[in-house]
Amino acid sequence: MKQRGILVRDFSHYYGENRSLNNINLDVYRNEILGIIGPARSGKSTFLACLNRLNDLIPGSRVEGKIVVDDQDIYGPEVDVVALRRKLGMVFATPVPLPLTIYENIVFGVRLLGKNNRPELDEIVEDSLEKAGLWAEVKDRLHTSALKLSGGQQQRLCIARVLALKPQYIMLDEPTSGLDPISTMKIEDSLRTLKKDYTIILVTNNTKQAARVADRTAFFLMGELVEIDETRVVFTRPSDKRTEAYLEGKFG
């Protein structure tokens, strides 16, 4: 049996009166890539935001039920939200490098921890960029603005930036939705490599991407978890009619 990292139990989320997630139950295993698919407004992104409590930023956000990450109830009273967000690194759909240099983007979160030792930072920068598959392309211009990178490079920079924080989980919210096929391929390659050291949750609009990289796939629809299983099973013998219909492109 694989080790469980995240447990979600009877979890619901509300924006004011609207229920955006309804009674979700699922586990995330360590060192797997869990793909989450589903049409727009199915609650996929909200689910990610709930895992690292970015939903706290939205006024009127409210939760019920439990999410346990590494044996800690993350909605409990003693949770250090900042530490939680470092543990569950997040990569957004639109790559948003901060308006700083490539180098400073990577060390941004590290510096917040008070680390300022130059050789150590240099090492973190190289290591993170290497893992994100970007080092070779940018090693000669680390101190130029990150905003000058191409879209695909920016997205890998955002992945590197998350890796620099040494998280245990990486959550990606449609990371390739704005990218060309080659950039997409590079990111998917990075994800397969990263799986060795990290647990990855990949929200994607592109069902084929889930089929390509995810070990298991969860299908969300209108705030509900319709099914979750081995990717192979979900794509070949889905147990729910709605999953089948979505995968066949009957709605989306």
């Binding site: 530490a83 967000r85 308006p99 955002c158």
Partner: protein, 286 residues
């Protein structure tokens, strides 16, 4: 040419004339000031104007240095007071306050800009000047009083431009920073303010232009002695005050020297405005 095309041309011509008339007013003012002010500067030499310390118009001594220093001191003082206050208010109103509170407070702050400067001067004279005299010494009419009043007067400019440029920073920057484990304040300090920097600087420079050009309120609280002030509690005379105080009775070379004061003021303000324009266009290009 059809009738519509003719109309179009007429409208264009009319608008062009109106636009030109606005610009020509500016041009005429500029020409007039320079025409009146520069001959005397050539006659006595720029150096004696810019560096002369004695302003005795009746004895043909036209040193403007005390007023130049006075204007700069008062303006700088206004910035020391107005910028931290203004920036703090802008950060609070954009990043930390409740949206509804901001909706009430922002117009109130902008209302500050609508109060006539003589009212500021009056309040300064009634409350601030005696307060300084009783608590810090000196005549009360001082660099400090003028700086405080001007610092408050530039607040609306600094605050509303800072608010606009902080709001222009995309939310995705904030989200990204917070997702990396930054707190709200760290996000503001390390991401939002640097991203909004050029807009904020433009706002400060516009506020500075306002401070250096303000006349009435300064005359009322500054004491207006034409000497280089020895401390912030000493009275001071600015370039604008110099013109406003003496123009009514000046004639001959005295009058020309006041225009020369205007020329120098004009040049200082042009420099500030140019800097403001350059920094704000750089912001837009990003």
């Amino acid at each position: 040419m059809t009738r519509l095309e003719k109309n179009d041309r007429l409208v264009r011509l009319g608008l062009l004339m109106i636009a030109l008339s606005a610009i020509s007013v500016l041009a005429i003012i500029t020409l007039f000031i320079f025409e009146q002010g520069t001959p005397i500067m050539f006659r006595y030499g720029f150096k004696s104007f810019l560096l002369g310390q004695d302003w005795y118009p009746s004895e043909k001594s036209f040193g403007l240095l005390p007023m130049i220093v006075g204007s700069l001191m008062v303006t700088f003082g206004a910035l020391i007071i107005g910028v931290p206050l203004g920036l703090a208010s802008a950060i609070f109103l954009t990043e930390f306050s409740h949206r509804r509170l901001t909706r009430i407070l922002k117009p109130v702050i902008e209302l500050l800009a609508g109060i006539p400067s003589v009212v500021y001067g009056f309040i300064g004279l009634m409350f601030l000047v005696p307060f300084i005299r009783d608590n810090f010494g000196g005549p009360g009419l001082s660099v400090l009083a003028a700086s405080l009043i001007l610092g408050i007067m530039i607040l609306p400019t600094v605050i509303s431009i800072a608010i606009d440029s902080i709001r222009a920073v995309p939310d995705s920057y904030r989200e990204g920073s917070i997702a990396l484990g930054a707190t709200r304040w760290q996000t503001v300090r390390m991401v939002v303010l640097p991203a909004a920097r050029s807009g904020i600087i433009a706002g400060i420079i516009l506020g500075m232009g306002r401070a250096i050009g303000e006349t009435m309120a300064v005359i009322m609280v500054a004491g207006n002695a034409a000497d280089i002030p020895g401390s912030i509690l000493a009275p001071v005379r600015t370039l604008t005050s110099n013109i406003a105080l003496e123009m009514a009775y000046a004639s001959g070379e005295h009058r020309e020297a006041l225009f020369a004061t205007g020329v120098i003021l004009f040049i200082i303000i042009m420099i500030l405005n140019t800097i403001a324009n350059v920094t704000s266009t750089r912001q837009r290009k990003k």
